[in-house]
């Protein structure tokens, strides 16, 4: 996919642009504040379909806030105000017509700490499916096998599907959570530091999974681990103080970033 990289003539950031056919999520002049304190400032960027896009930046730069906003996780927090637009496949996610439950089915989310429900492995994956619609058991079993296989967990758990999910290791729990999200067939998967609590081998498994999943859906990854962003993402966006600093193909951001600020951050320099 070719992103046209446009470096504007003044101080504007170098940002990759995608055509409306390539773009899955589109964020347009989006700002968000917690009790008047600005967390995201006039962000404009689009996330390409069937690609992995990484958001990097120091703590408090707004990357997780942005991820949560895409899933409308701030809805119940009354102190949060926002302006601007987020569109998913051309649909405004804040449109009153938009069903939040349906939005969250289409946009799955995985958090830093694995959060399996206190029930069996099988029931964890079946949970979303049961909420959605009644399915014959055979059909449901097929979907569960498919989801666990897609999450690269099937071979490890197929003989103990009815054991508690809490018996799994941290890495397996995280893949179970991903399987649970995949079962409802989302278009987008948001991953907020999905491997930061895992050991290196489990981390590599999650990263391999991310790579394999992009043929099925669009992935957005928030990570503190720069090498992880470099390893798995196709595009990287660097955020700082709630603003988008630089956004481009990962290959370029990690070999020859356009801005000194980005260079300093990814190479661990004092700014």
């Amino acid at each position: 996919m070719l992103a046209s990289l446009h470096s504007a003539n003044n101080s504007q950031a170098p940002v990759a642009h995608f055509s409306s056919e390539q773009s899955c999520l589109s964020i347009d002049h989006f700002s968000l504040a917690y009790a008047g304190k600005v967390a995201l400032r006039e962000l404009t960027l689009s996330v390409p379909r069937h690609r992995v896009t990484a958001f990097i930046g120091p703590s408090g730069c707004g990357k997780s806030t942005l991820l949560r906003a895409i899933n409308r996780l701030h809805d119940l927090n009354e102190s949060v105000t926002h302006s601007g637009q987020v569109t998913l496949e051309g649909q405004d996610i804040h449109d009153p017509q938009m069903n939040v439950t349906e939005l969250r089915r289409r946009v799955g989310m995985v958090f830093q700490t694995p959060n399996p429900f206190p029930m069996s492995i099988y029931e964890n994956v079946a949970f979303g499916l049961r909420l959605q619609h009644r399915l014959p058991k055979r059909k449901r079993d097929d979907i569960i096998e498919w989801a666990l296989t897609s999450a690269a967990l099937w071979d490890e758990v197929k003989d103990r599907l009815h054991r508690s999910a809490w018996q799994l290791s941290g890495g397996q729990q995280q893949r179970l959570v991903i399987a649970r999200t995949l079962a409802v067939q989302p278009d987008v998967l948001l991953l907020d530091e999905p491997a930061s609590a895992l050991d290196p081998i489990s981390t590599l498994k999650i990263e391999e999974l991310i790579r394999n999943l992009k043929s099925e859906l669009t992935l957005v990854l928030v990570t503190h681990n720069m090498q992880q962003a470099a390893r798995v993402s196709d595009y990287t966006a660097f955020l700082h103080h709630g603003e988008l600093v630089e956004y481009g193909p990962t290959d370029q951001v990690f070999t020859n970033p356009r801005l000194q600020h980005t260079e300093n951050y990814i190479t661990g320099r004092v700014t």
Partner: protein, 241 residues
Amino acid sequence: MDITSDTHSKHISRQFNQELEELKTHLMAMGGLVEKQVQDAVFALLEGDTRLAEQVRDNDRQVNDLQLQIDDECTRVLARRQPAASDLRLVLAVIRATSDLERIGDEASKIARNAMLLGENGSAVRGLVEVRHISEHVRKMLRDALTAFARFDTDLAMQVVREDELVDDEYSSAMRSLMTFMMEDSRSITSVLSVMWVLRALERVGDHADNLAEYVVYLVKGLDIRHSDTDALEPKVLKKP
């Protein structure tokens, strides 16, 4: 985004600063040694100093050792630091540069071998004017390429790239004169052939200096200019076109 020669000293990890600084220092030391090898080899040839020529041949081992040492340091930095952006480009540029410097060392060694052959021969040798001329030219290129590396100076690097084209022309014209010498006097063929090998070695030194200059542009600008047309590149690389 261009970087400057102090870009690599601003990491939060001072140890990392030091490692990158050492890479540059060691590369410059290797460059200095190689420069001296070329200078001595040519001097030995022009002055018929076979002892100096022998010394050049012996010193080639030091050049090789430095290449191994610096490559080893680069491997360690890659494995332990996983450098990105300009840090990565520095390590890659240094690895490439050591390989070219080592090859220049080999060319100096070849020149020294021919200096020993010609020294043993004893008779008047044709073509030394050409050797003197081209050697001065390529030695300046090498010096400039190393200076450009030390100062991250892309303008100077581009000048070296330009000079290489001139050296190639001078080399062709020198070869034509030497052919004429051989045709005029068949007894001179052995010694003229030696001189031709020397010229060939010098021309290769120029090519390697050209490569070094290209790595400087890669390091500073992130632009890989190998196998590119110089005219088209200059506007992108030069500070003052």
